[in-house]
């Protein structure tokens, strides 16, 4: 059974929202006012509404992101139910779940339509959002009360996870549970999914599982694809190898690029394979430039089949595959160069050139001048920057 469903709070006292917030929400609902519930993902906004409805014996009429909520649909679906009575004379809460989904092109005019419904509705309307102060819903804010729902405390999440473990008879390490509770950043839903996921194999929760889970599954998939590309010449299998993984084409490209020279040991093979990757990259450039996505076919072809057929004969040895360090290196280089960039921003301003040009054409000479012990007052560099240049 779906754990999210199974462990969802059903009663109002199970909901992890502070008592006074529940009290004020209840008050607004009874007064049939509109309310915006603002809070981060997984903080229990939707559960709160259902639990409250249960307590009051109300029905919930929910419109969520999976429905199209444009102007028309608001008028056809939401407006009538906000006006008519309920079948068995029960009270009703109209829940607009996750209003963010209502922006953008698909839901054009939806906010305006909803704002006018708010004015007329006979029933309380509750709108949930993670971005309550967004300009786009200002017209709704004017007609509603706003209640802030905070992210759930790590300790509370821990208690829940522990209860679930006990209930499901899962052998667990408290450290792992704590880590799970911490990691989810107050999003109880994702924590429960993670727990469910991790423990589904053997009802046991170990440290290693926690560290490797999503990474490991992805790796296994890409390993299979790489093996096909590097070890076989079976075109039909190779061409689909990346499609079959969860890994996107850009990431797969990095994997192939990183491991190619470790796999193809003959210079001729290496040269041919890189030539193919280079062509794949040219197509990628054209895709980016012209936004012409049919070129993806060719990019995929050159990076898979092209590389596979580049080898003269199959390599028999098995090596494991390495993750690309390129992106990490790029990241660290950026961190290391922050000071340099800040100096070059000053150079760029004084010299009528771009920062990039300053890095390349001016910085090396300025560095030499500073190293020789001189200064250029005009640049207004601070002592730290001078120090950096003189290193």
């Amino acid at each position: 059974m779906n754990w999210l469903e199974k462990y969802k709070p059903r009663k109002i006292n199970e909901v992890l929202v502070s008592k006074d917030k529940i009290k004020s929400l209840k008050k607004f609902v009874l007064e049939r006012k509109a309310v915006i519930l603002n809070g981060p993902t997984g903080s229990g906004k939707t559960s709160l509404v259902y639990a409250l409805a249960d307590e009051l014996n109300y029905d919930v009429f929910e419109v969520n992101a999976s429905d199209q909520r444009n102007k028309n649909n608001i008028n056809i679906i939401v407006r009538p139910s906000s006006l008519e009575g309920s079948i068995f004379g029960k009270g009703r809460i109209i829940l607009i779940d996750d209003i963010e989904g209502l922006s953008g092109t698909k839901d054009r005019g939806g906010v305006q339509a909803l704002a006018s419904v708010l004015g007329e509705s006979k029933w309380p309307i509750i709108i949930t959002t993670t971005d309550g102060y967004n300009q786009k819903i200002s017209s709704l804010r004017k007609k509603s009360a706003l209640i802030e729902v905070e992210a759930i405390d790590t300790l509370e999440i821990f208690k829940i996870l522990k209860k679930i473990c006990e209930n499901e008879e899962i052998i667990y390490d408290e450290g792992v549970l704590k880590e799970l509770s911490r990691r989810c950043n107050g999003d109880i839903r994702s924590a429960v999914i993670d727990l469910w996921n991790l423990s589904s194999k053997n009802k046991e929760l170990r440290k290693e599982d926690l560290l490797n889970l999503d990474d490991r599954e992805k790796k296994e998939e890409i390993f299979t694809a790489l093996k096909l590309i590097f070890k076989s010449k079976d075109i039909l299998n190779v061409i689909n190898s990346i499609d079959k993984t969860d890994v996107n084409l850009d990431e797969a490209f990095l994997w192939i690029e990183e491991n190619l020279p470790l796999q193809y040991l003959k210079s001729k093979d290496l040269f041919n394979a890189y030539d193919s990757l280079s062509k794949a990259d040219v197509f990628n450039g054209r895709i980016l430039r012209w936004q012409y996505f049919r070129f993806l076919v060719y990019r995929n072809f050159f990076m898979t089949v092209g590389v596979a057929l580049a080898k003269d004969e199959k390599y028999m040895s098995y090596n494991s595959y390495k993750r690309s360090g390129k992106l990490l290196k790029l990241f660290w280089a950026k961190q290391k160069n922050l000071k340099k960039i800040s100096i070059c921003e000053k150079l760029s301003e004084k010299n009528h050139v771009s920062v990039k040009r300053a890095v390349k054409d001016i910085y090396p000479y300025i560095k030499l001048i500073y190293k020789s012990g001189r200064r250029i007052d005009e640049l207004e560099l601070d002592e730290e920057e001078v120090e950096y240049l003189r290193r």
Partner: protein, 316 residues
């Protein structure tokens, strides 16, 4: 006060701009009439595009030039939307003084994507009444036709020997330097006709010694240029591909060099490699092909890697 020489010696009038006589002639005439169309300055770095734009502004608006002149660089990390926003704010008010328009200088336009260029073109149309644009780029072919067709195009060429010599002589006089003929040859040799580079070299030389010799120039330039390129190629040629590519990436990141910067140096270095001349020819051809693909493609580093693979294949 110690100043940056490229700014200190930047020409303030048309007459002071060296080595672009024909362009100056035409631009000066337009400026005198206080009526200029949108301009497009195309040409390599350090040949006077920004300088001429600044001079136009100063000549047109005199002391009020700063209020009527907006300078932006399209390659710095600002989206086209930001650029349009700034242009909109700037164009809202009328020009001060007797010139009926304001001036916007947008540098390095070829770094804009096609979509951004389309947006720019619409912006240019919206403000024809009270704004003139001066666009600059390295390669005019990278600009979409509708933009080119809305501008009067000026092609700046790298300075010739005479031009570079005049620049050096001028600075020599104003800064009290000692420079002989041979040193000027050397400066021209390494300049690629780029005045900014020459002046930067002169200033860093002068920070060491007011007497500037050929040797000083060469040693300084090589100090400013990363030495690792040679090592990268030697590793590739000796078949040590993995180390070679690691070193390549490290070098690029350390010095903040782009793929095109690298390939320029690699191409120069090929002739110095200890391999047969016929192989040098093959490698130069591969180099050209790689540069072409780099311009077309998306990942400069990958293209360089593939060039290194050619070095390990043909270099032995």
């Amino acid at each position: 006060m110690q100043r940056i020489w490229t700014e200190k010696h930047r020409p303030q009038t048309f007459r002071e701009v060296l080595g672009q006589d024909k362009i100056i002639e035409r631009v000066e005439a337009m400026t005198k009439n206080k009526n200029i169309p949108n301009l497009l300055f195309a040409g390599p770095a350090g040949v006077g595009k920004s300088t001429v734009a600044l001079v136009i502004a100063k000549e047109l608006f005199g002391e009020k030039w700063k209020e009527n002149f907006l300078e932006m660089n399209a390659s710095d990390d600002r989206g086209i939307d930001t650029i349009r926003g700034i242009i909109k704010d700037f164009s809202r008010t009328r020009a001060i003084g007797d010139v009926p328009f304001k001036l916007i200088f947008l540098d390095e336009c070829d770094s804009l994507t096609k979509e951004a260029q389309q947006a720019l073109r619409r912006t240019m149309e919206n403000y024809t009444d009270n704004v003139r644009f001066i666009l600059s780029c390295n390669y005019s072919s990278k600009l979409i036709d509708p933009i080119q067709s809305r501008c009067s195009v000026f092609r700046f060429r790298p300075l010739d020997k005479e031009g570079i010599k005049n620049v050096v002589e001028k600075i020599k006089k104003e800064e009290n330097l000692t420079i002989n003929e041979k040193t000027i040859d050397a400066l021209f040799d390494i300049s690629d006709g780029d005045v900014r580079r020459v002046i930067n070299i002169l200033q860093s030389c002068a920070s060491l010694n007011k007497i500037i010799t050929e040797d000083l120039v060469y040693s300084l330039v090589s100090a400013a240029r990363p030495k690792e390129v040679k090592e990268v190629l030697e590793l590739a040629v000796s078949g040590n591909f993995v180390n070679s590519r690691d070193k390549l990436l490290d070098t690029m990141l350390k010095h903040g060099l782009s793929g095109l910067d690298m390939i320029k140096q690699i191409q120069k270095e090929i002739l110095n490699l200890n391999i047969k001349d016929e192989k040098k020819l093959i490698l130069i051809e591969k180099c050209g092909e790689t540069e072409f693909r780099m311009v077309e493609g998306s990942d400069e580093f990958l293209q360089l890697e593939s060039l290194l693979a050619a070095f390990s294949l043909y270099g032995r």
